[in-house]
């Protein structure tokens, strides 16, 4: 949102924030594993600077899931930002000029003009992200392998373990089916939204 404003060097900044997006999830996982490292990770170093003790982020049930989420957010926020930026730039100028003349505040313009007009793009990005979150595998495989315990076990990883660690192909196939079923539902919603826009 912020980045659609004009400012100097915005091209560079934009390119920079897009980088996490293009990095392999495996590498993103490694990067965050490095950040979360108990003894010499950057996260603990920053906490150490303000006087907080070391935390084993990925090794505790309570903190593992939030830690994984932060890594996922780090990788995928640029995606949503990118879509919304494109949407905002495609908006026509006239309504905003009219609003300015009518004395609308910046917040009002955002709330009553920008937000309703970018709603389709917002919908698409939410749906695609929902779909992708179901697919998450690489990142967690690298970060925690589903542990500690099963605190970060996701459907994809669970299927993988049943199929290729315990070699229970039947059970894993059933899980795959369940997964496809859920994806079909989400995908149909996406297709519906997209069709309505193209028609």
């Amino acid at each position: 949102m912020l980045f659609s404003d004009e400012f100097r060097g915005r091209g560079v900044v934009r390119t920079l924030i897009v980088l996490p997006l293009m990095i392999s999830p495996v590498v993103a996982g490694l990067i965050w594993r490095f950040m979360y490292n108990t003894d010499r990770g950057m996260v603990n170093y920053l906490l150490y600077l303000i006087g907080i003790d070391k935390v084993d982020w990925l090794g505790q049930q309570a903190s593992a899931m939030p830690a994984v989420m932060v890594a996922d957010i780090w990788q995928w926020t640029p995606f949503v930002a990118l879509i919304l930026m494109a949407a905002i730039q495609a908006l026509p100028d006239e309504p905003f000029e009219a609003a300015l003349i009518d004395g609308a505040s910046k917040w009002q313009m955002f709330r009553y003009l920008t937000l309703p007009m970018i709603r389709p793009a917002l919908m698409v990005s939410i749906l695609i992200r929902t779909m992708d979150s179901f697919k998450i595998f690489d990142l967690i495989y690298v970060l925690t392998l589903g542990g500690p315990g099963v605190s970060t076990q996701v459907l994809g990883l669970y299927t993988y373990k049943w199929g290729f660690k315990f070699f229970q192909m039947g059970y894993a196939s059933a899980l795959s089916y369940l997964m496809i079923f859920m994806m079909v539902i989400i995908a149909n919603i996406i297709v519906f939204v997209m069709r309505r826009r193209t028609d």
């Binding site: 900044v13 793009a121 695609i128 795959s176």
Partner: protein
């Protein structure tokens, strides 16, 4: 007036902080990859150090990283070339010919892309085992093609539909065949789209992990699989791991600069242009 300046500064600060959040981890990985072993393990981290290329040399000397690099490169380029060769004409016909159910066909093609790879994993694995394609580069190329093809078709269809049809029509009036109109007019006009689709396909394959993990052993192993193997039970070889990660990131970073304009479109299957 003063309020406006405060607001402006706040905004700039926010932009700076966000940028740092997204970029700092990548920079840190790079810095660690050029640190010596002692410096990399220091806590608190050392900021001023003697850069070294030992890590980069070691991953090629101590492991088969050269092989993994070549595997990834070959698998990614070959599957991109095949997917483009097959997908571009298909996309063109989908964009230009109206036949019964053509939009259903288009959405059906897209559905392959939507399916989570892990859900297709088991049948693919069994199929590959029976065909003796496990742990071979042709096998990898084949499976990547399957998954890249729908993406190419979908992307290129969008690009072709954006082209004004008049140019092709006038080419045909001037005596071009339909195929001539495709190769001499449409393909050339869609060149930027062609390039960005190819680059995105290449990058997706370059980064692919699940299929590579399950379908390869030691011969056809690709970099994403190799990189995570630097994490051992006994501890993580940070120097080697970060060096490998940097090598993996390099093409993505460089290529991202080129395709920025088409990035949104590629990642949303053309839902947002």
């Amino acid at each position: 007036m003063q309020q406006r300046i405060v607001w402006l500064i706040a905004k700039r600060l926010l932009i700076a902080v966000t940028t740092v959040f997204f970029v700092a981890p990548i920079v840190l990985i790079f810095l660690t990859s050029i640190k010596s072993r002692v410096d990399a393990l220091a806590f608190p981290p050392v900021w001023i150090f003697q850069p070294t290329s030992t890590n980069f040399q070691e991953i090629f000397d101590l492991y088969d990283f050269g092989l993994y690099f070549r595997n990834t490169l070959v698998a990614a380029s070959a599957s991109t070339v095949f997917a483009m060769a097959l997908g571009v004409p298909a996309a063109y016909s989908l964009a230009r010919y109206k036949f019964r159910g053509h939009s259903n066909l288009a959405f059906w093609i897209l559905s392959i892309r939507i399916t989570p790879p892990i859900a297709a994993m088991i049948p693919v694995f069994i199929l590959f085992r029976n065909l003796r394609l496990l742990d071979s580069i042709p096998g990898l190329v084949l499976i990547y093609c399957t998954f890249n093809l729908p993406f190419v078709v979908w992307m290129m269809r969008g690009f072709f539909e954006d082209l004004p049809i008049d140019l092709e029509e006038s080419a045909m009036v001037d005596g071009c065949s339909r195929f001539g109109a495709f190769t001499r007019v449409a393909l050339i006009l869609a060149a930027p789209g062609l390039a960005s689709t190819a680059i995105l396909t290449f990058l997706f394959t370059w980064n692919e992990f699940i299929f590579a993990l399950i379908l390869t052993g030691t011969n056809a192993r690709t970099m994403p699989v190799a990189v995570q193997l630097f994490m051992r039970e006994t501890g993580i070889l940070w120097g080697h791991m970060t060096a490998a990660a940097v090598i993996m990131m390099l093409p993505t970073v460089v290529l991202t600069f080129f395709i920025q304009r088409y990035l949104v479109r590629g990642l949303t299957f053309g839902a947002v242009k």
